[in-house]
Assembly symmetry: C2
Homo-oligomer: 129 residues x 2
DNA sequence: CTAACTGTACTAATACTCGCAGTACAGTTG
DNA sequence: CAACTGTACTGCGAGTATTAGTACAGTTAG
């Protein structure tokens, strides 16, 4: 399913969170789609189920998935707009990073390009409220 | 000079790096201005000089300041445009964060606002190459 | 040169994180 | 009940992070 870098300084569970997040955001994993069970994925990746569970728990905390005891873990379809707290903190980070990037010489025009780039790759199959 | 949260999970030296970075980016600290010595600042904040030094070293590595043995640490005036490597990594982070923010419901229009906001607060006293 | 300042290097203790392992419990489904 | 699912808890071992303490090195003023 993915590749992990065991030698990386970035923890395994964190790599998992990142990759799964990407898959969810890009809608490779569809809403309500079931994720592999902690034991299955652990077997495939030959790592400890506990590590998977840690990643799943993190994703659930962040609102990307939901887990049901006895059934499995699934991609969260509602999510998102509800977690305005999260949006706020993400925007805070964003502002910090943006000011840094612009300080380093990123031109507004280049930034706009970046945004359009993302718009097309994400908004491609989304709802327009 | 600043306030530190000793109870935070974020290391002290990292808090220092963040705050100093902000001061430099916003030009509260002017180019070539001398920073407080590691011992002075450590005394003021009642923390270990080594912690300050670690923050300063990090800032130097990232190109925000330069230090001269026996003289002191100073805000780096050239900096920036030279570190294109850094710009690249910042942009990478930026893309990740942007896609997350947009997934969470951030509208492009709101993003543009953010940018204009930063433009005026940063570009206010800068060179237009 | 000396004294008092500056940054820097090294070591050490402590605390935390990460990943693994094992065990046990709880809900679902057939 | 059996076999699957997620979840909780303990402990262990290795590594890393954080801070502190101490000592060294360059600069400057007298």
């Amino acid at each position: 399913m993915f590749e992990l870098d065991m030698r990386s300084r970035q923890p395994i569970y964190e790599q998992l969170v990142d990759k799964l997040k990407e898959l969810i955001i890009s809608e490779v994993l569809k809403p309500d789609e079931q994720l592999p069970s902690v034991r299955t994925l652990a077997g495939q990746l030959t790592i400890n189920p506990n590590t998977i569970q840690k990643a799943y728990r993190e994703l659930e905390t962040q609102g990307y998935i939901y887990s049901v005891k006895g059934k499995g873990s699934f991609v969260n379809p509602i999510s998102l707009v509800e977690n305005s707290d999260k949006l706020v903190s993400v925007i805070k980070e964003l502002k910090k990073l943006l000011s840094e990037a612009m300080y380093l010489g990123l031109k507004p025009a280049e930034l706009i390009e970046l945004i359009h780039d993302l718009e097309s790759s994400i908004g491609g199959g989304k709802n327009d409220d």
